[in-house]
């Protein structure tokens, strides 16, 4: 609210900002200022078989502050998930996304909730970006009732169909044909929406990717394949797995764009561009040059196949949240203290969500037998000892 008073066409003055800091921003840290702002991406786009979009991205202070807040939330969420896993409250697999937040956030800014997103197992932040809540994330990770899949999916199987998020898939590469299928259905239904199918540099070599891409190009499906290239497929560096690690070019006859995946604005621009392209001309590949700070999963320290210097180097030079922080400060959209306050708030939100999730009960034993089918015809279903535990599918 304080900032909106300053939304005259002329530039914001830091002098006016300071006295108002304490009173308003603690309660309403996100600016509602929608004055357009044009910012250049870190690097120009590199294109394949198409003309790259402009480096100048239109944004607003409100958007930049929301980027900051949302990415800070994602970062904190993933770090908290790490602690929960080490405390054995999260079991099985846990693949963390910290470092890659700009891809999730930038994509959301460039599309609508009517467009569809499908991804692999590194899906916590993508789910949050699509409108999922922290409570749903932590509850699902801990296998509780309030989880987005009511505890039956786990870390790799988050879904939010009502806002176009189709999971959450454990089999590397499978989500790509599924995503092309979503695009097919969107075209069939004449919805004028698109699907973003995300995959990693490891999955980029999968045969089914090329099968699906061929069909998508043949049938002009509004599918955008997004390679989140964090340069490591589990422990294997991209140069050891791919003869050609120019993933944006691998589509051959399908146009591609290489994007700095640590720059949320570049991601936003690329996704907007890709959506327009896909609705008119069929599929496109986006390669997001990004990085994950954690290992592949919680069982991978992430430092046996890459140096700690490399990891800290990226954190210092290219961290997506730091980039936005610098932009906000450089354009005087908020003070350092305001940003730190946002981070404190976010931390509290995450802690509160974890506390609430810990109170959420585990699913009822009867849930073992629900949702096997939509229509069960009263068929019998059996537990481990079929004479002891039987159910009837509704």
């Amino acid at each position: 609210m304080a900032l909106s008073k300053l939304s005259s066409p002329s530039s914001l003055s830091t002098n006016i900002l300071k006295p108002l800091t304490n009173s308003f921003l603690l309660h309403r840290p996100i600016s509602t200022d929608t004055t357009p702002l044009t910012i250049e991406t870190s690097v120009p786009f590199t294109s394949h078989q198409c003309e790259a979009p402009s480096r100048s991205v239109e944004t607003t202070p409100k958007e930049l502050l929301s980027f900051f807040r949302q990415m800070a939330t994602m970062r904190r969420m993933e770090i908290a998930a790490d602690s929960l896993y080490k405390a054995k409250l999260v079991r099985g697999f846990c693949h963390l996304y910290d470092g890659q937040e700009a891809v999730a956030i930038g994509m959301e800014a460039g599309i609508t909730k009517k467009d569809s997103i499908i991804t692999a197992y590194r899906d916590h932040c993508t789910f949050l970006g699509r409108g999922g809540t922290l409570l749903e994330v932590f509850s699902e990770l801990m296998g509780r009732k309030d989880g987005c899949s009511h505890g039956k999916g786990g870390s790799m199987h988050f879904y939010k169909k009502d806002s176009g998020f189709y999971g959450g898939h454990g089999i590397v590469g499978a989500q790509i044909p599924l995503g092309c299928g979503l695009a097919f259905a969107q075209k069939y239904s004449k919805d004028e929406t698109v699907t973003f199918a995300l995959y990693g540099d490891g999955a980029a070599n999968q045969g089914q990717l090329f099968e699906a891409l061929n069909i998508a190009a043949l049938w002009d499906l509004p599918a955008i394949l997004v390679c989140e290239n964090n340069h490591y497929g589990m422990g294997t560096a991209e140069w050891r797995a791919a003869k050609s690690p120019s993933y944006y070019k691998r589509g051959d006859y399908v146009p591609g764009l290489k994007v700095d995946g640590m720059d949320a604005l570049a991601v936003k621009q690329a996704c907007k561009f890709a959506k327009e392209h896909a609705l008119k001309n069929g599929p496109m590949i986006l390669e997001m040059d990004t990085y994950r700070y954690h290992g592949h999963s919680m069982s991978d320290p992430g430092s046996t196949y890459r140096t700690r210097d490399e990891i800290s180097g990226v954190r210092q030079e290219r961290d997506p949240i730091e980039r936005i922080r610098k932009l906000i400060l450089a354009h005087d959209l908020a003070t350092e203290k305001e940003l730190k306050d946002i981070e404190k708030e976010v931390r509290k939100e995450v802690d509160d969500a974890i506390a609430k999730a810990k109170e959420s009960p585990m699913p009822e034993p009867s849930e073992l037998f629900t949702n096997v089918y939509v229509k069960g015809y009263g068929v019998e279903v059996f537990g481990a000892d079929r004479k002891e535990v039987r159910g009837v599918l509704p």
Binding site: S149, E211, V372
Partner: protein, 391 residues
Amino acid sequence: MVLLLAVNMVTRAGFSLKQLKMWGIIRQKVAAGGGSPVARIRPVVSNLRNYSSAVKQMMVREALNSALDEEMSADPKVFLMGEEVGEYQGAYKISKGLLEKYGPERVLDTPITEAGFTGIGVGAAYYGLKPVVEFMTFNFSMQAIDHIINSAAKSNYMSSGQISVPIVFRGPNGAAAGVGAQHSHCYAAWYASVPGLKVLSPYSSEDARGLLKAAIRDPDPVVFLENELLYGESFPVSAEVLDSSFCLPIGKAKIEREGKDVTITAFSKIVGLSLKAAEILAKEGISAEVINLRSIRPLDRSTINASVRKTNRLVTVEEGFPQHGVGAEICASVIEESFSYLDAPVERIAGADVPMPYAANLERMAVPQVEDIVRAAKRACYRSVPMAAAA
């Protein structure tokens, strides 16, 4: 025997059993105590007794085609995709005429990339469309099996009901004739073991129509196992079956032939062989009850068990490999629920435990024959020699 053939020919020409009885061509005898070798004269295709007097013949191929046509007409979300389903009119002509009628947006010729197009089909089902994905044979479904099981079967459960998958995977399954090891595999047992899938396998044209319609209307992923050798066979269909609203229930087996001495379970082409075996057994005083499973998953355990409780003997017959097969599951089910009713060990007839050979004589040995079913039924009845003639 000659009378039976005559009845068979006459009934296939379109006259009902009722009419034949009226004209005194058939006499029904009910045996008292079991002396007469032929208790009842029945035509080979015994489901005539359920039909109204006007009976039409329909090939299984036509039955499937009409089912697809009607369901596509009724619901614009239904579409067909697979190799050669469009311009070629279907590799086995099952989709004949559909491209012309519904256009290339709803009848889609795919490249030879099962993993890709099956995944696309499942993704379309996630969004709410109702795809029918055709595999030229189910042998090729192995290229796409990850999508059938991990992307389709498990999604409703993993998402706790958010993502349902109303898809049908259909195509010929099992052995054809002389197509060799890679083209003759039966997948019933594999798919039927997966929770989240429904697995259906029709025998007659009535089955083909009713079960395919049920599968397309069903909101869950259905694996629909046809049989290439049945496509050209004709069966009588009643007016009820021909109606566009006709549908068979999923999970219910059909008793093709009633009997009281031994139960024979079968599905798909083997039902025909089992009915022939039942005829031969009947002449030797063994009254066999033939169950057409129709639904492999869910398996109609109650019909099977009720039958075994009546006959006390069971022979399971299937075309696929014996180990971990459909018969093994049926046997286990019967032992668990009707053990004290069994008067003999359960007999299993299945495909030979070898990859399908090519040479005609070896192929014949690799697939169940009528004699095998007859022999197994007799073993279950503790008879290894033909009954002596009645005194």
